[in-house]
């Protein structure tokens, strides 16, 4: 049986990659410290596989065909297509894990979830900025779960919680003794391409952090369902944190750091969950 050995979440944003070398040193150092700490904790988990939950920034999907959730079950995936990413993370291919991807898909279908599937995804900055900054080993297989965080209507928070629990069930029913970590990417609040662009909603961010720490799923879902329509559109990526949170059993949240990052247009958050099964 496989085990969940770690659960993590980190923000992303194109400017982190674009302006990494030129941004103010203090700011870069604080971002780096958040990513580095996740990298340290991830390495300590000694994972055999990393499940990454992230949005797709119009790289794989368009409004002609836009899944709510898509599981990547390929033997490998394509690296980031964005030129600004290729400068800092020039990986053309990322190793996948077809067997676990298929097991996750089958587990989902058996439990009446109907995700899309992809045998080859392009993993954009949403996935690859955290991988780059965390320093994930190129040999660590990735199973991507793409969640529609960008175009309304989006999956409900209740469903994202259910996805997290399902992911945990899939991990624990996988027959091989894999050590599996999960990473949710995106958030916290930000506002992109809308009249509030640049707005970082610290009140929302601190409330999210409190709700993750409280570990009460119903209250977390109620809060996000009510608050998300009132804050910036980028905050919808909190769904990816919610999946990681529920996979971890909705407990053990540890905030590594949070600070508003107007330089990168995001409420920068870094977190992990204490996972009981970790050994």
């Amino acid at each position: 049986m496989a085990n969940l050995v770690g659960a993590f979440a980190a923000s992303h944003g194109p400017i982190i990659a674009r302006d990494w070398e030129t941004m103010a040193k203090d700011h870069r150092n604080r971002l780096a410290a958040g990513f580095d700490e996740i990298g340290r904790r991830l390495k300590a988990c000694r994972p055999d596989l990393l499940v990454v939950i992230s949005p797709d920034h119009w790289v794989n999907f368009f409004i002609s065909n836009l899944p709510a959730v898509c599981i990547g079950l390929g033997e490998e995936h394509d690296g980031p297509p964005e030129p600004f990413m290729q400068k800092v993370f020039p990986r053309e291919r990322l190793k996948g894990h077809a067997a676990f991807g298929r097991h996750l898909l089958e587990t989902a279908l058996e439990r009446d979830f109907e995700p899309a599937l992809s045998h080859r995804l392009k993993l954009d900055h949403g996935t690859c900025i955290p991988l780059w900054r965390i320093g994930v080993d190129a040999e660590l297989p990735i199973v991507p779960i793409i969640v529609n965080d960008l175009e309304e209507p989006m999956p409900s928070i209740r469903r994202c919680l259910a996805w997290g629990r399902l992911l945990r069930q899939a991990i624990e029913s996988y027959p091989e003794p894999l050590r599996v970590a999960v990473l949710g990417t995106g958030g916290l609040s930000h506002s992109i391409g809308e009249p509030t662009m640049g707005w970082i909603d610290e009140e929302f961010d601190h409330a999210c952090i409190r709700h993750f720490a409280d570990g009460e799923d119903a209250r977390l879902a109620a809060f996000l369902t009510e608050a998300l329509p009132r804050t910036g559109n980028g905050a919808h990526e909190i769904r990816d944190w919610v999946v990681a949170h529920a996979a971890a059993g909705s407990q053990g949240f540890e905030l590594i750091d949070y600070f508003p990052s107007p330089q990168t247009l995001v409420g920068a958050g870094f977190a992990s969950w204490r996972v009981a099964a970790a050994a």
Partner: protein, 91 residues
């Protein structure tokens, strides 16, 4: 209301560097290939952020104006000039 063809144009420009170069050189020629209404075509040619913004996903909008070469500060200022429907702007 989402405009499919404006969205498709923005999506294609994001995925095709040659098309993006062609668009920079000759916008009307590229626009001819998309079923975009005349008033929207005019808004595109005039970089009318306010007219285009309600028609496309906000992330595609951001990418499009990067392709157009609009500096981020100017793009944000033009968005802020629109009546914000929610919250205050800190950024």
């Amino acid at each position: 209301m989402t405009d499919y063809w404006v969205s498709k144009l923005f999506f294609d420009l994001q995925h095709d560097a040659k098309l993006a170069a062609e668009y920079r050189a000759d916008m009307p020629a590229v626009l001819e290939r998309y079923a975009i209404k005349p008033d929207i075509r005019k808004a595109l040619i005039e970089d009318d952020v306010g007219k285009i913004a309600p028609l496309v996903n906000a992330y595609l909008l951001r990418f499009y104006f990067q392709i157009r070469g609009m500096p981020q500060d100017e793009f944000i200022a033009r968005l802020h000039a629109l009546k914000a429907g929610k919250g205050k702007v800190d950024g």
